[in-house]
């Protein structure tokens, strides 16, 4: 091996090492904020009920969003994978554009649709109001989580051998049975990866929720139903929103604590997926 090549390899390794170091340091350099001199750990958030409610809300809403995204997105991705090429290209472009939008524009578009647009009529007809409510969080998270999920699930179905489905049908399966008993199990790794991606994206949603739902912590308890109280999500904001509020008010230790809570939750998720042999590519 030539000298150049040897050095090249070292440079590449050094690069990766530097990257890892930089990222690690980004997180690690903040650890000391968690232990302020003369104050409680992480500004005492662990003993605050609203912190736990926020954590609750984030995790539960992300899970609910991911499940709804799966229920809508997996069959839609299946239908998409069986369509002509034009559909695929269109989907690429549309989903790519949606995922590139800034969160504030996403939130604003939701406001426009739900307050002035066709969905306004839908709400009036159903007798519900989505904006500025807890279900509104789900909607705001769903927009992007679903888009991400669709990309991943479509790719998972595309990667399957088309003859699997055909063979199943020659054995007597109709198209639903071919999907449920053959395609879905065979695509399971990709399906799960998509689910996790959707969950992570929902967890990461902050700006859109801020615009579409605003904050809940100042609202009176009477605005929240039984279910919200039972789940301990009443009067709570998403953890990311709560974090912002803490920072805005100068309570950096508390905000940092919440930031770490979020980061660790996401890291655990990504690590678990890798443990199971999956990979998370892309956004």
């Amino acid at each position: 091996m030539s000298v150049e090549s040897v050095w090249f390899r070292r440079v590449l390794w050094a690069q990766l090492g530097a990257l890892v170091l930089a990222v690690s340091w980004l997180f690690a350099s903040n650890l000391d904020t968690l232990f302020p001199a003369g104050g409680p750990f992480a500004g005492g958030i662990l003993s605050r009920a609203d912190f736990w409610r926020s954590l609750n809300l984030s995790v539960l809403s992300a899970t609910a969003t991911a499940l709804v995204a799966a229920a809508l997105g997996i069959p839609a991705a299946w239908a998409l994978s069986r369509r002509a090429l034009a559909w695929h290209r269109g989907a690429d472009i549309l989903l790519g554009a949606i995922l590139a939008l800034p969160a504030s524009s996403v939130g604003l578009a939701l406001v426009l649709l739900f307050q002035y647009g066709p969905l306004d009529w839908l709400q009036a007809w159903l007798g519900v109001r989505v904006i500025y409510t807890l279900p509104g969080i789900l909607v705001a998270q769903l927009v992007l989580a679903l888009a991400l999920g669709l990309q991943a699930w479509r790719a998972a179905f595309e990667a399957l051998d088309p003859r699997l489905e055909l063979t199943a049908r020659t054995l007597g399966a109709n198209s639903f049975q071919a999907f449920w008993r053959v395609a879905l199990p065979a695509a399971r790794p990709g399906i799960l990866a998509g689910l996790v991606l959707a969950w992570l994206r929902a967890m990461a949603e902050f700006g859109a929720v801020l615009l579409f739902c605003s904050t809940f912590r100042e609202l009176p308890a009477s605005r929240f139903g039984e279910l919200a109280r039972w789940l301990h999500v009443d009067r709570a904001d998403l953890l990311a929103v709560a974090m912002w509020v803490e920072i805005e008010f100068g309570r950096v230790e508390a905000g940092m604590g919440m930031a770490f809570a979020l980061a660790m939750t996401c890291a655990a998720c990504v690590y678990l997926v890798r443990l199971n042999g999956g990979r998370i590519r892309g956004h």
Binding site: R163, L166, T170, L171, Q177, A186
Partner: protein, 356 residues
Amino acid sequence: MVTESPVRMEGVSVEVGAFRLREVSLDVRPGEYLVVLGPTGCGKTVLLETLLGLHPPVEGRILLGGRDAAGRLPEERDLGYIPQDYALFPTMTVRRNLAFGPEIRGWSRQQVCSRVEELLELLGIAHLAERHPAHLSGGEKQRVAMGRALAVHPRTLILDEPLSALDSSRRSELAGELRGLQRRLEGSFLHVCHDLDEALHLADRMAVMREGRLVQVGTPEEVLMRPTDGFVARFTGNPNVFTIRSASPNQVVLEDGTVLVCSGPSHASAVAIRPENLTLLASEEEPEGASVLEGRVKSVVRRALALEVQVLRSPGDTRWTLLVPHGRRIAAGDRVRFAVRPEAVWRLAGEGASAS
């Protein structure tokens, strides 16, 4: 009682992207092993997919068991299908794969279990029952795919190049197994491939396909000895196809002036002579009734069963291919004489020696 053809195509034409079928008429008889042979890209896969119900024919019709199959979906056609890569369901064990068809059709657990056991026995794969497809060899996968398709007693089994995925040493052995299985089950098999040896080994009847058309359908012997045109001759291992300048009931005159004694129709446009039917002569031999030709050896290639000798004859450097037993002393550049017996000359009505 008239026995219906399990599968019958009448003048079927289909267009799928760049591939097409042109007025294909094919008839799989009960209990017959029919092989469709053709080069890659000739439309064999489209043929199968049309039979399975993926492409509605623009012309003609398909009859399954005597009834028109128009409008019937793949799951309603009762055709067993073995795709090229076997397409075993990757997340299921061999047992679950075999049980799939019966379960879908709502057989009772008892029936499903006993059928699966039967198939495991029949195909000699009982020891593989709990394995997943990823841990099976090519030959084992083929057997499981067969079992899965046979589980629901299909009227006909359709095989898409089932032996291409195997290495050549295994191919012959598994071809034998396929044949044996077909005999034992007394079922109809429709097998598609591009390998001549495979086709000859297995077929009761062969259909030669070219660019979406079936150019000849017949027993292997018919196809080998009495090809309809130059393409079939060349595709079945006979490169000796020559255009005729003129033909009379007793002889033909080739383009380059060679006169061959033979009988046959006068409207022929070319002749085909199988290499194994040409005899290399010693210098003074004069066989009775045969046409004797001379030429210069261009190349000698060693094949498994004989030497393949190419001889050039002037004028025009026409190339003749002969098969000569191993051990004969013969080299490029030698002048040789060979005999063409009248019975060996087969007159073709179809396209001649020009490249196609």
